[in-house]
Symmetry: D2
Subunit: 235 residues, 4 copies
């Protein structure tokens, strides 16, 4: 049997993009807790938040108070994104799509993507991303596709099977935490949640031990200074 | 400046999903060569093929001759997929979507996803995937989203910024290799191609050195035997 | 109660993009028959085919024998598309996406989109499109989105709620026609199939009676000759 | 030449989902004005708004003040949606996706979809929808796909070629209204904008003259009372 690795140096942040403010029940939160509990039991430092509980304007600037808004909690929340090796984005499905809150989160993550780490790489390099989706009908893969794409686009690494979710049979019906759904017993969802969680941990640990990616071949700063490594323009 | 890593133990396979048979000119091939050339200069063993040149029926079985087809080149081609640490899928854009050939490739990759490696993980675990997209109009991110999602779903790992592409201004116009496009000089496309290529190499090397993922927490065989690691069902 | 309209002058074509050749059982066909049966009982002339039963190369030219292929059934099949007021595209879901066969169909429909009717409009103007999707897991809306978009893009009109489908609870499980699925009794799927079918009929009848769209404002031929109607370029 | 129809009884609403509050310059607004101007010159009553200028909470209830929010401008804005025969949704592209504001709009439109008209149909039946997209890089079709799908799903009809947009060559660059983009002179965008506009008008006029859709075959109220028209359950 495989040996238990030591994940105790890792930090993970779970952002729930439900449309319901705390303390209202969020089915997405219900599923995210399964993954958070695995991580906690593995000794990972787990942080979590609901984006809708905060005052975060839509926009694509790092700090929207500079764009005329009175308040913007994002710069403060972003410190928690920076501190975490792993980011898991959770979203409900509405009309087959991720929530507007998930889109706002990605817009604000993207707004920070010009920031660089001390190797001259995009700031998210060396971090690992996953996503969790709940609904009662249809759309896990569609939502996961967009979220995982956005995360890798700004610099996150995506391990195998980095998403998990639950939906019921086609059409309206009970949601994840509802008794009628029996969702907590879904072997498929439980297995995917487990595999996602461990693959995030394995890749995050590997990247932590390697101190992230070598900047050979991926540094915008070096590219701007004319470094091309083995790239050659087609003639 | 970052030290040059040794990538000479790596193998990469580039599958071009153009709708044009060899030896017709493929713009997608034109872009893929930029990445292949970087890899070759880094000492990587580079293999490549056009799916449309082969007799590969659509279907979701490992070998379609067992479903009544006379010929199926896929089982043979699949050996090349198995041999490669890195898979790069290239596709043209038609009506905003990846080609039907790219969809067929993913269906056939998916058909093999029940196969396991000697750790009891899905076969693609430990491999790394990326994608390249060309068109003259619109849709790189949409195509990349679907392809990268499919790759991670079957077990590939996705490094940061694992896609690159070229399109012109909205509407019909010259394609990548056409003189009028000036695409070969696109700093944006050249940089993304370079970063994608190196990030694929870095992550593949890291996974090779770690001998892939530990099976702790992600083995379907162990799950079926009742192993749950630190997963606990919600009550 | 609403009066029964007379739909007996209408013709509909159902194209099934299953990956299974006839006479193998297609779950997608199973669902499509529900809609076809409504139409037949309303006196509509119903035609249907499985694309995979024909020799149709992938490609974006009207006739691929001009591109070096020995055979291309598409030009002949296309006559059936031309003859029908209504086109319903059916697809199974594989890894959350429409089948490669559905993508090939759309590529070939698109290849004909330069053809014009006798008003100088795209050939599909005045026709009406819908789509039907089956799987055992997830992705109806994602597949429908892409197919309906492509249809309207080439000139089809899309009535309200122009898609219907069936999937089971998340994860593998029985398919539409399997006894265990109870899918034939899904009130949600049956209602959506019914509404889709009637909305296709209503809009097709309306467009037939109006002899399609007036070419005022939408004729590529007129645009090329300099006609701009009330369009004015921004200064 | 085609005769000019009389569109003077029609009303259209253009909702701009930019992330910039008035009076900041919105490129999406810039493109939407081209369509609005055609309509105005055709005698259509044109209304328009920026969603971000209003206090509209995210959520899927008709009135979020019943969910604990102090203010919700949506019920008031919705009267303008109800009054219009045509709805055009405009969105910028961020990371290849529609804005979070566009997602919020669709969530709130969806929240009203249980409302019925006096024929027992969904409220949006008989209305016509389109969409306009601007960015500097990539993603018109992806955004349009999701928006048009959502509109038809809640009951809008979609005429041929119901979207128009502008993007520049791959990578960052000037936006629609910027001098450097030359976008106002894009023949492709101007033609698509014109065709979209007129097709929306033609279909809206047709539906207005027919007093919308017959409720034969598409009334949820009748379905719930057991009416099935020619639908028959599969045995």
């Amino acid at each position: 049997m495989a040996q238990q690795p030591d994940f105790t140096n890792l930090k993970a942040l779970f952002i729930n993009c439900t449309l319901k403010k705390s303390p209202r029940q969020s089915h997405t939160r219900g599923l995210m807790e399964v993954s958070m509990n695995i991580m906690r039991k593995e000794g990972v430092a787990v942080d979590s938040l609901r984006l809708i509980d905060f005052n975060v304007p839509a926009g694509v600037q790092p700090d929207m108070t500079e764009e005329g808004y009175d308040t913007d909690n994002w710069p403060h929340l972003f410190k928690r994104v920076e501190a975490a090796h792993i980011l898991v984005v959770g979203t409900p499905i509405w009309l087959g799509e991720r929530s507007s809150m998930a889109s706002k989160l990605i817009e604000r993550l993207y707004a920070m993507s010009a920031m660089q780490n001390d190797k001259g790489q995009y700031l998210y390099y060396g971090k690992v991303g996953g996503c969790m989706v709940t609904g009662n009908e249809d759309g896990i893969k569609h939502c996961a596709k967009g979220i995982l794409y956005a995360l890798q686009h700004v610099g996150y690494s995506i391990p195998p099977q980095a998403d998990a979710g639950w939906i019921g049979e086609v059409g309206p019906g009970p949601s994840y935490l509802d008794d009628g759904s029996n969702a907590k017993n879904s072997d498929f969802t439980n297995r995917n949640t487990t595999f996602m969680t461990y693959n995030l941990l394995h890749l995050a640990k590997m990247l932590q031990e390697q101190q992230g990616y070598s900047p050979y071949g991926n540094s915008p700063a070096a590219w701007e200074q004319g470094e091309r490594w083995q790239f050659e323009k087609r003639s």
